[in-house]
């Protein structure tokens, strides 16, 4: 119990306010707005999203915006006027291809993370709110999935598909990505469900479903959203790795992973084939992970 002891000293001077230790959501936003790293990475993330959503806006900057217009005669030639990144093995404009590749990479990243997050929210809430039996069952299933080596599992499952486009690859990556997020959701749901405002809501006759929807989820969401931001970067790397190994996306998809795979045999003689898609991939992952880290630091007072 938290009440003050019944002693003479305390009868006169009781504690005042706990405001100092309290971290308001508005305070976090205020804190974030003043961090240059947050503004920079946030801006870059937005730019990348725009790139993925509307590659046409950027691909045509140097006059050759169509990634499928190729001249085999220029195969693997280096940068030239109008073609700042040069040509790929098929003689297509590499710049246009790299720009169009953002869509597949970010698409897989966001879709897989979104699917995993949805599963994690449902299972994490169930595990956190329901009784011990449901909790144990979900915890064991989570453990089983965490036991699979991520890449190996994905390779095995992807090998059984004949067509591998963005949704299938994203689905398979989500299949192995949800357990970590589920654990985070469960942990934060469990800490929120003991909160005084949940007890207060129950004392006013709120139902379990109402409490989950209105009080538990909104307050338990922050840590998992931060994790999800970081996961997007990880998934993009995984997609590129799988595609490089030949079990990820297939042509006619355009992705950085495919471009890296295409550069495999010739990157010693034509390094630009590896460098440009690789730069974009690394940059994207770096931006997303740094963005997630900044948000986490701002939300976690212990990190200050």
């Amino acid at each position: 119990m938290t009440d003050a002891a019944l002693s003479p000293e305390k009868l006169g001077a009781q504690g005042t306010s706990t405001e100092a230790s309290y971290q308001a959501p508005q305070g976090t936003w205020h804190e974030l707005r003043r961090r240059p790293v947050f503004l920079l990475t946030g801006g870059c993330a937005l730019l990348l999203l725009l790139l993925a959503a509307a590659p046409g806006l950027f691909a045509g900057w140097f006059g050759h915006g169509d990634p499928t217009v190729c001249e085999l005669g220029h195969s693997a030639e280096g940068p030239a006027p109008g073609h700042p990144f040069g040509y790929d093995v098929q003689g297509c404009d590499l710049y246009a291809n790299v720009i169009h590749g953002a869509g597949a990479s970010l698409g897989v990243g966001l879709l897989a993370t979104g699917l995993g997050l949805a599963v994690a929210l449902v299972l994490g809430c169930l595990a956190g709110m329901a009784g011990r039996i449901v909790d144990s069952v979900i915890a064991r299933i989570t453990d089983v999935f965490l036991g699979f080596p991520f890449l190996l599992g994905a390779i095995v499952v992807l090998n059984s598909f004949t067509t591998r486009d963005v949704p299938t690859v994203a689905g398979v990556l989500a299949l192995f990505g949800w357990p970590t997020m589920t654990r985070v959701v469960r942990a934060s749901v469990r800490s929120v469900r003991e909160a005084d405002y949940v007890v207060m809501a129950r004392s006013l006759g709120a139902s379990q479903w109402f409490i989950v929807r209105r009080h538990v989820l909104p307050n338990a969401l922050t840590p998992v959203l931060v994790l999800a931001t970081i996961t997007v970067g990880g998934v993009i790397v995984a997609e590129a790795a799988l595609t490089f190994l030949g079990v990820g996306l297939q042509p006619p998809s355009i992705s950085w992973g495919l471009q890296l795979a295409g550069a495999q045999n010739s990157f010693q003689t034509h390094p630009h084939l590896l460098i440009f898609p690789g730069l974009f991939l690394s940059f994207t992952v770096f931006v997303l992970i740094t963005f997630g880290d900044t948000v986490r630091d701002a939300l976690d007072p212990r990190g200050r």
């Binding site: 119990m1 938290t2 009440d3 003050a4 002891a5 019944l6 002693s7 003479p8 009868l11 006169g12 001077a13 009781q14 504690g15 005042t16 306010s17 706990t18 405001e19 309290y22 308001a24 959501p25 508005q26 009784g131 011990r132 909160a195 005084d196 405002y197 007890v199 207060m200 809501a201 129950r202 004392s203 006013l204 006759g205 709120a206 139902s207 109402f210 209105r214 009080h215 909104p218 307050n219």
Partner: protein, 348 residues
């Protein structure tokens, strides 16, 4: 008001809900369960009756079981960590055996609770007005607009300045006293006839404490509800309560009308408490602390729980637990659980 009820024996359930007392708690026990399933009793057969339009103060030190008793009556203790026994009848309906969905319909509407720390008892992500309005909407199925109007009205009733403007503010934008008012507004939103206030002013400044207690007393008067005030503050209870029950180690040791209890405490523990309260006129050097510390739940002494610290300990105290029985100087309104209640000098 009827104070002649014998509080120590459980009564047969009354058939007519109008004749039944507003809230009748009999032989309430709470066992806290550890993960391994071992049970530890923290409330040992607490009985009290709350009558219409009455304020009963439950006073005790930290860990005396007063808050957990209130939580048990509200049905807020999780079944996985606590087992509740005895009965708590609201107008004859035993809340403790009521199916959860029926109990839920009573919570908020018939019996509501104000918590100690309003900052943590309000959802930080929602505006206060929304939280009040939603309570009304969830129970009465009124429209958004009407719920909003009633929430603003409630905020005005608990004296929030500019209620229509402050409707859109979040909990952290309010001062401690204002937040407590918001929580009180939520608790009385559905006009419950029993209001339980669990240390409603402990987290507040002394000046604000008085205002909040005044507000609670006023609202109780206006709505004709009954108030169960849980506190460790004897002074606070003196100004508000009609009757007082003193708790120690999960038991009620003494219960009496407020003036009688403060003027002529019959239990040695009550007398010890009163001797330890600083008075404005007095010298703080005159304060007499009670020697020792209260026992933890697992370390209860045999017999009377207070006997190791009692200045008037007798031979029966160590072996036999005293019952809560009507006692001098003013039975039957006074109940005392002591083998040797004080023969108070100057009593009638």
């Amino acid at each position: 008001m009827d104070h002649t009820t014998n509080h120590t024996t459980a009564k047969a359930p009354l058939n007519d809900p109008l004749d039944a007392p507003l809230l009748d708690v009999q032989d309430l026990t709470v066992d806290v369960l550890s993960r391994s399933g071992a049970a530890q009793r923290v409330v040992h057969g607490v009985s009290f009756t709350l009558h219409e339009e009455e304020t009963l103060a439950l006073i005790g030190e930290s860990g005396s079981g007063k808050s957990i008793s209130a939580m048990a009556v509200m049905g807020l203790l999780p079944a996985t960590t606590a087992r509740v026994g005895g009965s708590a009848r609201h107008r004859g309906t035993d809340l403790l055996t009521l199916p959860e969905d029926q109990f839920r319909a009573l919570r908020g509407r018939r019996i509501a609770m104000v918590f100690q720390d309003a900052l943590s008892a309000l959802n930080p992500t929602l505006t206060v007005g929304f939280q009040i309005a939603e309570t009304i909407r969830a129970h009465e199925g009124v429209g958004r607009r009407e719920a909003r109007a009633r929430a603003v009205e409630l905020m005005a009733r608990v004296r929030i300045p500019d209620p229509a403007l402050r409707y859109r503010d979040h909990p952290h934008q309010f001062s401690g006293g204002m937040r407590q008012r918001i929580m009180i507004a939520m608790a009385v939103a559905l006009s419950p006839d029993v209001l339980i206030a669990d240390e409603p002013t402990t987290a507040l400044d002394v000046t604000v404490q008085a205002q909040i207690m005044e507000l609670l007393a006023e609202l109780r008067e206006e709505t004709g509800s009954a108030l169960l005030l849980i506190t460790h503050d004897l002074g606070l209870a003196a100004g508000t309560a009609d009757r007082v029950a003193i708790m120690y180690a999960g038991r009620i040791l003494e219960q009496a009308p407020v003036q009688e209890l403060y003027d002529r405490p019959a239990h040695p523990y009550t007398r010890g408490l009163l001797a330890a309260v600083p008075r404005l006129a007095g010298d703080t050097d005159d304060l007499t602390p009670i020697p020792g510390t209260p026992p933890g739940p697992g370390l209860l002494p045999a017999g009377c729980a207070f006997h190791p610290r009692c200045p008037d300990v007798g031979e029966r105290c160590a072996t036999q637990e005293p019952m809560l029985l009507p006692a001098l100087p003013d039975p039957p309104a006074r109940l005392v659980a002591c083998h040797y209640p004080l023969e108070v000098s100057g009593a009638r």
